[in-house]
């Protein structure tokens, strides 16, 4: 009799422990925080494309630029605005129907708004997003064809609306202000293009597709013309290499996009992959591809970086926050790049009449 009630008590006790455990697990799943680890996407092949994403589909976002005005009341954006007028950039973003809500939406909510004009290029038209329909198929082997058609579309509709034409992926983050600073020193009537320069296969090098590349107006004209006159081939499964080969045939110069201290500005990976020594294994293709001596650690990346690649939606917003919002108050940055000569002159002229102290030397 006694042993039976003891057994009952024991099962009751076990039951309560079990119930407590299950319940606490459920609660921690419901209310728990996810670890802040980012997937390290190291593609073995420089021309590898992004694998189909597994559902980060619950993410949405748009950004209201005027929302946090009070945080920026001591910010002077005259130079930025001046460059916006002087260096007109049309951006087109390579995307697809599956990625409009998953990826392109976050590009639209962050850096894309700073282009003078932005177009989202997809295989099919989407009036609401909006996205241009290139009338191609989707897939890795279609990339070069999409690129050709996209540049053709831009040439046919917007040639006079911009000086420079930037191609980016829907997982590329571009800092338009820094791109304008880079391009302000160059003439868009010259046949030249910029990006992260790779050295294999093409004598003058070619630009990494994912890190984004930007063509001068003259380069765009020659590129579009090349397909009418069969100077370049249409078919290739490696978009950036094919474009690079074509550029060389057309005598479009592969420019040096590094900053005045020799640091790279276009980046084929996220900052972490470049800043952390040893992150990219020494056997990785990257070390043999870079046209200029590759650097890991703090010297990897210019203060005025232009682009990063393999940027997931969360990182898009993080970069936006770090670049355009968070800053160390009063800090005198080590790298003090010069204002483009003509811009500097125009701004000093404008301020002769105003009684305002503007520190031109601390951008």
């Amino acid at each position: 009799m006694a042993s039976k009630s003891w057994l009952n008590f024991l099962t009751f006790f076990c039951g309560s422990l079990f119930g407590y455990f299950i319940c606490s697990q459920l609660f921690s799943i419901f209310l728990g925080e996810q670890g802040d680890t980012q997937p390290s996407i190291l593609h073995n092949d420089p021309h590898a494309r992004h694998s189909d994403d597994s559902g980060h589909g619950h993410l949405e976002g748009q950004m209201d630029f005027n929302a946090d005005v009070s945080q920026h009341t001591d910010e002077n954006t005259d130079v930025s605005k001046k460059l916006y007028q002087k260096v007109k950039i049309l951006c087109w973003v390579m995307t697809g129907p599956q990625n409009l809500e998953k990826k392109a939406k976050h590009v639209k909510a962050t850096w894309a708004q700073r282009c003078n004009k932005v177009l989202f290029m997809s295989s099919e038209e989407n009036i609401d997003f909006p996205a241009v329909g290139l009338k191609t198929k989707e897939g890795r082997d279609q990339l070069y064809w999409k690129t050709i058609k996209a540049f053709q579309y831009v040439h046919d509709h917007y040639l006079d609306d911009a000086d420079w034409f930037m191609k980016a992926d829907d997982d590329t983050y571009v800092v338009l202000d820094n791109l304008r600073w880079l391009l302000s020193k160059h003439d868009p009537e010259k046949p030249i293009y910029f990006g992260r320069r790779f050295k294999p296969y093409v004598k003058q090098g070619y630009m990494s597709g994912g890190a984004g590349y930007v063509l001068s107006k003259e380069a765009l004209k020659r590129f579009v013309d090349a397909f009418k006159t069969d100077k370049c081939t249409h078919s290739s499964s490696i978009e950036d290499l094919a474009l690079g080969r074509c550029m060389e045939i057309l005598n479009v110069e592969a420019g040096d996009s590094r900053d005045t201290t020799g640091k790279e500005t276009f980046h084929p990976f996220v900052p972490e992959h470049h800043l952390i020594r040893g992150y990219l294994p020494k056997t990785f293709w990257y070390w043999n591809y870079n046209y200029y001596p590759p650097v890991e650690g703090p010297g990897c990346c210019s203060d005025l970086a232009v682009s990063f690649h393999y940027v997931d939606p969360t990182t898009m917003y993080e970069l936006e926050y770090l670049i355009y919002h968070l800053r160390p108050y009063g800090y005198l940055y080590r790298y003090q790049p010069a204002l483009p000569a003509n811009i500097g002159k125009e701004i000093s002229e404008a301020y002769k009449n105003e009684d305002q102290k503007v520190k031109l030397g601390n951008p």
Binding site: F12, Q38, Q71, N178, P271, Y331, P363
Partner: protein, 318 residues
Amino acid sequence: MFSESSSFLKGMMLGSIFCALITMLGHIRIGHGNRMHHHEHHHLQPINKEDILKISKDERMELSKSFRVYCIILVKPKDVSLWAAVKETWTKHCDKAEFFSSENVKVFESINMETDDMWMMMRKAYEYAFDKYKEQYNWFFLARPTTFAIIENLKYFLFKKDQSRPFYLGHTIKSGDLEYVSMEGGIVLSIESMKRLNSLLSVPEKCPEQGGMIWKISEDKQLAVCLKYAGVFAENAEDSEGKYVFNTKSVGLYIKEAMNNQPQQVVEGCCSDMAVTFNGLTPNQMHVMMYGVYRLRAFGHIFNDALVFLPPNGSNND
């Protein structure tokens, strides 16, 4: 057999109910409300922009130099990789930074507190720091190596604050009647608070070495209890929009939360432009923050700041 399974089931139900109650209570107490929720009292904000313009240039330089921040980082042997990252990154921007460890660690220099207990480490560190440096520093910032701090923004926040007053600030949490500064967001004490704290540390009734009877009270709560006896109260630091300036999570986590809660205004809903701390970073993320904060920026955006802070000597990642 049947009676056993029914008693098991009854036990399970009781266990689940008990667990649910405890979880709910825990959440209500800590208060997982809207991040913008204002505490009833004690918000501190940085100086007004208009007031800044009234200060002359010379006065600004003098003022910039007048903030002397001493950083205390409490480390344990298991923190070694975070310790390395912290040493190579943000602590270089403290006027002085020292690491206080539970025991001697071969790889790095530290001040050995000879105790594993976090509260004891904290007390001894504060005693050491006050003893040695009370004449040289006027602000004392304590953190764990999981925290990344932007000392320039800390100084901006402290601008024009009268340090003869006892300040005790950071990211505050209310636990019952006690409002305390969370260790995770970093703890800031003015020299006056340090003075009062140190005079109390030797009084066992006011600052017991072992708080709590049933279970241990966390060290940040113990500090608050101790300081309360000295008339020093925790204050939450916020910017002009009410955003917290000391943060207990990483940027990425706040972004993810904003993507869920405010998808139309993700960056706006995330964090302050003048944030001082973030927490829960990996060593790699510390290096990325260093680049993202002190180097990566957009050309053509110029700021007219009231203070001037020069980059530290012998450093290449900032």
